[in-house]
């Protein structure tokens, strides 16, 4: 099952997505984008209609948002696009870990390490709570 299917049918993130209406195509976001400079497409390519994929190719540096003179909701635009695309395979393990254990990195023996370092033990959130918080399926096959 694609983990996307755990989504609430009523999207909770109601930020306005009005990117095209506000964009004046000044290109400052293009110049600021590290991912584009690295030779990949990015959300900025989608915004500028030079590519139709790239919503997941983002380093979250948010330079594009900072340089935009029109306050285009690039974050909202990116998230709206991501809802329509599959999750990259490289991200699936961390998604699976969160859904199963409430933590994106598998923590075998973490409390032994913490104790050795003088830190108090950590208790991970219980699986049934993750299931409740994510609205249903706690550990889909990804």
């Amino acid at each position: 099952m694609n983990p996307k299917k755990i989504s609430n049918p009523e999207p909770m993130n109601s930020e306005p997505v009005n990117a095209y209406g506000e964009c004046i195509e000044c290109g400052q976001c293009v110049e600021s984008c590290l991912v584009l400079r690295g030779g990949e497409t990015s959300i900025v390519s989608e915004l500028n209609k030079t590519a139709d994929t790239g919503a997941w190719n983002c380093v979250n540096c948010w330079k594009c948002i900072e340089v935009c003179p029109q306050d285009v909701d690039i974050y909202g635009f990116m998230m709206a696009r991501r809802r329509k695309e599959d999750i990259p395979s490289t991200m699936r393990q961390s998604v699976k870990n969160i859904m199963g254990k409430g933590c994106s990195i598998y923590l075998r023996g973490i409390n032994e390490i913490r104790e050795a370092d003088g830190l108090s033990p950590i208790k991970l959130i219980e699986k049934h709570k993750v299931k409740t918080l994510l609205g249903g399926h706690a550990q889909p096959e990804v």
């Binding site: 996307k4 590290l34 330079k63 933590c103 994106s104 370092d117 918080l133 609205g135």
Partner: protein, 286 residues
């Protein structure tokens, strides 16, 4: 003053020394460290592309903190941004607020939006004078700063006015700070998730520039930056091991400046092959 440390998944799993040093530094500054009892991901790896319900994970930790009567200090950029974004939904009359509380209610929790979340940089920046008064030794190093993007941007979410807040803290430690053109560029750690080569290339470019501009130590303040810039250095400089440069976390450096010598604080540079028991967290003469 009470404060809970939220390490985030990456620091929790891989950078215990960063968490421990942060704890010691905050205690020195007079904070009482509160445990939240349970750890839950901030939701950064989910976001709406996976599920819109990621906000409930973020709010769960905020609700635990509110119940414990404490604010939160974060150690990662991603977590900081997520917590602040979800807190912004609790300002005004955002409909997400009710939806989140409807879900939290199933676990007998409620969140009212009162928990202040600040990254360690913001906490130390706000207490620069006190930090300066606690410095017991000057560190003999030429340092480069790697600013965590998501602590600073976008300003509408982070609320940080001074983009050089991180640098200002190091200045009160009387460090020799170098300038380099990529100081405010992303390190590339998040690129590892969709294009590993790009992430490695960006990390390399940043570290090479630090070194070329005279640094012999790089300071980071985010688990993801530390993962790429420190832990992956063997991969970054696979064929040029002589280019390696030590990288350490902000609180480890501050703790060392405050006079702590605890060997558990000195576990940086896995990539640089400096054993954790060597004493100095920086590898440099105090």
């Amino acid at each position: 003053m009470k404060i809970a440390i939220y390490p985030g998944c990456m620091v929790l799993a891989r950078f215990q020394e960063y968490e421990l040093a942060s704890r010691k530094v905050l205690e020195q500054l007079g904070y009482e460290i509160v445990e939240l009892g349970e750890f839950c991901c901030c939701g950064a790896s989910l976001l709406p592309g996976v599920t819109d319900n990621w906000v409930n994970l973020t709010a769960y930790t905020l609700a635990l903190a509110e119940k414990a009567g404490t604010d939160i200090v974060t150690l990662c950029g991603n977590c900081t941004n997520n917590f602040k974004r979800v807190n912004s939904y609790f300002e005004g009359d955002h409909k997400v607020r009710d939806e989140i509380n409807s879900t939290l209610g199933k676990l007998d929790l409620v969140y009212g939006g009162s928990v202040k979340v600040n990254h360690l940089i913001e906490v130390l920046y706000g207490k620069r004078e006190q930090v300066a008064g606690l410095v017991k030794r000057k560190i003999d190093a030429r340092v480069a700063v790697s600013h965590p993007c998501q602590v600073l941007r976008p300003k509408g979410i982070t609320g940080i006015e001074d983009p050089n807040a991180f640098r200002r803290i190091l200045e009160v430690l009387r460090l020799d700070i170098i300038d380099y053109p990529e100081e405010h560029e992303c390190c590339g750690a998040t690129a590892l998730l969709f294009n590993e080569k790009m992430g490695i290339r960006q990390g390399r470019s940043k570290l090479e520039s630090c070194k070329a501009h005279g640094a012999n130590l790089v300071i980071a303040a985010c688990g993801n930056c530390l993962f790429l810039l420190d832990r992956l250095q063997n991969k970054i400089f696979k064929e040029n091991k002589e280019l390696k440069i030590p990288v350490t976390a902000l609180s480890q450096l501050v703790a060392f400046s405050f006079g702590f010598d605890d060997k558990s604080l000195s576990k940086p540079f896995t990539g640089s092959k400096v054993p954790r028991s060597t004493g100095s967290p920086t590898g440099f003469r105090g």
